[in-house]
């Protein structure tokens, strides 16, 4: 099973437990507890999303770094190699932005590129302490990340 499916499974178990608690609180008329469980589910969505995004981001950094090193070492003609030589080899280097790393691997403007960028904006909103009013569907995240991860590994 992939890392995203594993995490999705764990998410599902926690989300299901919180949902049962939320529903029970509702049936008993415990409004404050119901809200607390609903909020926990929302934060759980965000926590798992951020966790999964870090995995995808690391993969994109890794793959882009491999590509750069590959080009720097395989291209013998200076004219072809010069553009690659100015790019950082290290996957943790911030001299190359996440978006530019992604553009090395996926055609800019294509469906997968746009989808990852949408997730990247969501990650920034949540990760930088946004209003936390951005909902997410983790089963869709799992499907998307799993597919994109495999496509980028090819």
């Amino acid at each position: 099973m992939s890392i995203f499916k594993d995490l999705g499974q764990m998410y599902g178990e926690i989300n299901s437990y919180y949902a049962r608690m939320e529903f029970e609180a509702k049936t008993r008329g415990w409004i404050r507890r119901e809200r607390t469980w609903a909020r926990k589910r929302e934060l759980n969505d965000h926590a798992y999303f951020l966790f999964m995004f870090t995995r995808l981001e690391d993969h994109i950094r890794e793959q882009s770094s491999k590509l750069i090193v590959g080009k720097q070492t395989s291209l013998s003609r200076w004219r072809q190699r010069s553009a690659w030589d100015i790019l950082p080899k290290e996957k943790d280097s911030d001299r190359l932005s996440f978006k530019n790393r992604l553009a090395l691997l996926v055609k800019k403007g294509c469906k997968d590129y746009n989808r990852i960028i949408e997730y990247y904006y969501l990650r920034n909103t949540l990760g930088h302490g946004g209003s936390f009013s951005s909902p997410v569907s983790i089963p869709d995240v799992v499907d998307d990340f799993d597919r994109i991860y495999s496509a980028l590994s090819a």
Binding site: E118, T125, P135, S137, P139, D140, D143
Partner: protein
């Protein structure tokens, strides 16, 4: 989420469309429940909608309805809207029952006829078409 040159009017159109789709979904569920006998549904405005784009473009918050499904006097399910602007979907609602939650997302394009897909608690999170059979099994579990 990522929408270029979005205006206040665009946002309001999406919200109005979302409210219509929720209402149609509740009508459909209410019909399914009624056709099974002993079930009844009740809806009430309860959920505040105030998502990121609404805040950014100073669009007023909205109040959305939730739907409760009863078997006799017992509450067996609650359907609640979670959000409209979801990456990869055109809105999400959750169906809560005593057994957990089903995540319902509309996989249709914007302003198209809804295509509701369900991710249940017990089916390994596989996407399933949300239809009467699925719903009845959910409330009878």
């Amino acid at each position: 989420m990522v929408e270029k040159e979005v205006t206040k009017e665009d946002i309001q159109k999406r919200i109005d469309d979302w409210k219509k789709r929720i209402s149609s979904l509740y009508d459909m569920i209410s019909e399914w429940a009624a056709s099974e006998g002993m079930y009844r549904c009740s809806r009430r405005p309860a959920i505040q909608m105030y998502e990121e784009l609404m805040q950014k473009l100073s669009v007023h918050p909205e109040v959305l309805e939730l739907l409760d499904v009863y078997h006799g006097r017992e509450l067996v399910a609650t359907v609640k809207p979670i959000g409209l602007w979801i990456v990869g979907a055109n809105g999400r609602l959750d169906i809560l029952t005593r057994n957990g939650v089903t995540i319902l997302v509309d996989k249709a394009e914007k302003f198209h006829k809804p295509r509701w897909v369900a991710y249940g608690s017990t089916n390994g999170r596989q996407a399933r078409r949300f239809d009467k059979r699925y719903f009845v099994r959910l409330i009878e579990e």
